[in-house]
């Protein structure tokens, strides 16, 4: 049986699959929320979900417009503060995975959510960091979810809001940071990072896309291994949970 699904649904499912049971996960706005709830409702029931403003392990029954929406805090186990979540869990070194959305990324997984355009000329100022810089700097690893377009996967980004591997090789370590991004999940493919150069590596292509579809819609060239599998499609159960429990109003997955 062929199951229909949207690229957004595949991204959420692919994100969920990266999470392991019992991990502590700091979750940013948007699709990372859907992916994390999906993981927790399926293979990772003992995962801990953290929202920066002071929320641990909520069980929403209604979809909210963002982390500021009390719908997203419903049935939390803990309601506390930035200092409690980002300080005594994240900065203390207890977050296994930081899960972030991005507006722009470069080939080292550096994220820009601050300035679109040329910072020296015309630019558009955006949402900035919130907790994203903190999560990218302090989590043991980071997963990035974003759109796959050449104007988003850019050779050079205008502003590094949240550090990936900076200029590659050991430049992240030189800047005093551990961890770093482990995955970039787009609507066309999943990427990892080369352990030495820290350049982005194509890991799998989402069904329905060709290698050309992937590389021609990027502003830089990923490392391309000889064999590239297709991304495993969502299961019927995963899709049902997303559609009926997590995002019935298609807020994130419209």
């Amino acid at each position: 049986m062929v199951i229909d699904y949207s690229p957004n649904e595949l991204m959420a499912v692919a994100g969920a699959r990266e999470l392991r049971d019992s991990q502590v996960v700091a979750v940013g706005l948007g699709l990372p929320v859907v992916a994390s709830f999906l993981a927790k409702k399926t293979h990772a029931p003992n995962m801990t979900i953290l929202f920066e403003l002071g929320v641990i392990d909520p069980e929403p029954v209604d979809c909210g417009v963002g982390l500021a929406d009390p719908r997203v805090w419903y049935r939390a186990k803990v309601l506390s503060s930035f200092v409690d979540i980002l300080g005594s869990v994240l900065h203390r070194g207890r977050v296994d995975v930081g899960f972030l959305g991005g507006l722009e990324s470069d080939e080292y997984g550096n994220l820009n959510t601050t300035l679109l355009g040329d910072p020296k000329g015309q630019f558009k100022h955006m949402v900035g960091s919130g907790g994203a810089n903190d999560i990218a700097s302090n989590a043991k690893s980071t997963i990035i979810i974003m759109r796959h377009e050449a104007r988003k996967l850019r050779k050079t980004i205008s502003f590094i809001t949240s550090p990936g591997y900076l200029h590659g090789n050991d430049s992240r370590k030189q800047a005093g940071l551990c961890g770093g991004p482990s995955r970039v999940i787009t609507d066309k493919a999943i990427f990892g990072f080369d352990p030495d150069s820290k350049k982005i590596v194509l890991l799998s292509i989402h069904p329905g896309n060709t290698l050309e579809d992937v590389v021609n819609t990027m502003d830089f060239e990923p490392i391309i291994p000889e064999k590239i599998p297709f991304t495993e499609p969502p299961s019927a159960e995963q899709l049902q949970i997303i559609r009926e429990e997590i995002d019935p109003g298609k807020m994130y997955l419209g």
Binding site: G54, T114, G128, S137, N138
Partner: protein, 298 residues
């Protein structure tokens, strides 16, 4: 000692040029009634700070009252950007020191605890830090950890002149209860020289004494207490009322240009003598439908 007063009195205690720490997070528990009255009283030259920029800050910037924001970015969640703040930064009319949530929270925490500086592992390697360095910020420095020799970024304490806190419950001394997550609010209060409480409900001190573990703002920090139901409208207050999606959309539309925003201010701020008139303009039907379900809290 009762510190109860009118919104007008509380706002008039703010000096032009003051540094105000605001309570909102995106579109929840914003100091909207307070911001409206600040605009009516035209108290200008303000510096605003909060971990995550919210509608209260955007409104004040749009009204031309603000010289500088110190914040970690922000938005109106899925309703849109902080258009007034963004435009001010793009135009160069608004100074902005941009951090991350934790770095602003740590700056408040250092202020709260009387620490001279606080080390942090965020910002490093990012353009947030480069930007602060390029403008020769005096709020960042580096220190060698005397225990390991490692070089650490350290931040200067952030000590606002006044924290304005929108809370669900307070007594007349300012012993206040915040329900829901508190984001940076407790650190803001403790860091600031003084605090103004805007409460949805005033209760007797007797009630506060029955739940002393819930008092997250001790009255000793507080200079003024104002009772203002729906004081955060059109943003939400957990366990009180929801955000008004329609008004948020109107706000986002209005904030897309200076001209439209001037009309918004005229219609909803200047022609209202106080927050009650603003609420009357919205109408009891809308307000009533926003009331929180007492089980779910929204």
């Amino acid at each position: 000692m009762s510190k109860l007063c009118s919104m007008s009195e509380a706002v008039s205690s703010i000096k032009p040029g003051a540094h105000i720490s605001l309570p909102g997070f995106a579109i929840t528990r914003c100091a909207m009634a307070f911001a409206h009255e600040l605009i009516r009283q035209q108290i200008k030259g303000l510096t605003l700070s909060q971990c995550v920029g919210a509608m209260d800050a955007d409104l004040l910037v749009g009204a031309g009252l603000v010289n500088k924001v110190i914040y970690g970015g922000g938005s109106l969640d899925r309703f849109g950007r902080l258009a007034n703040i963004n435009r001010g930064i793009e135009n160069g009319t608004l100074a902005a020191d941009e951090y991350s949530s934790l770095s602003v929270a740590f700056r408040y925490l250092a202020g709260a605890l009387g620490l001279p500086f606080i080390p942090i592992r965020s910002l490093m390697g990012s353009d947030l830090l480069n930007q602060l360095k390029n403008k020769e910020s005096e709020d960042i420095a580096s220190v060698d950890d005397p225990f390991t020799g490692k070089d650490w970024l350290v931040l200067k304490p952030l000590i606002p002149d006044v924290a304005v806190m929108h809370v669900q419950i307070s007594d007349d001394e300012g012993n206040a209860v915040i329900l829901g997550p508190k984001w940076d609010n407790c650190e803001q209060v403790k860091a600031s020289e003084r605090t103004i409480i805007i409460a949805e409900h005033i209760v007797s001190t007797e009630i506060i004494r029955q739940n002393p573990e819930s008092t997250c703002i001790p009255g000793l920090f507080v200079s003024h207490v104002v009772e203002q139901p729906f004081g955060a409208y059109p943003t939400s207050v957990y366990r009180e009322y929801d955000y008004d999606s329609d008004h948020m959309k109107l706000y986002v539309e209005s904030s897309c240009s200076e001209e439209k925003f001037a009309q918004y201010l005229q219609e909803y701020v200047f022609t209202c003598k106080d927050h009650w008139q603003f609420l009357d303009k919205i109408g009891s039907q809308i307000l009533s439908t926003l009331h929180a379900d007492s089980l779910k809290g929204y």
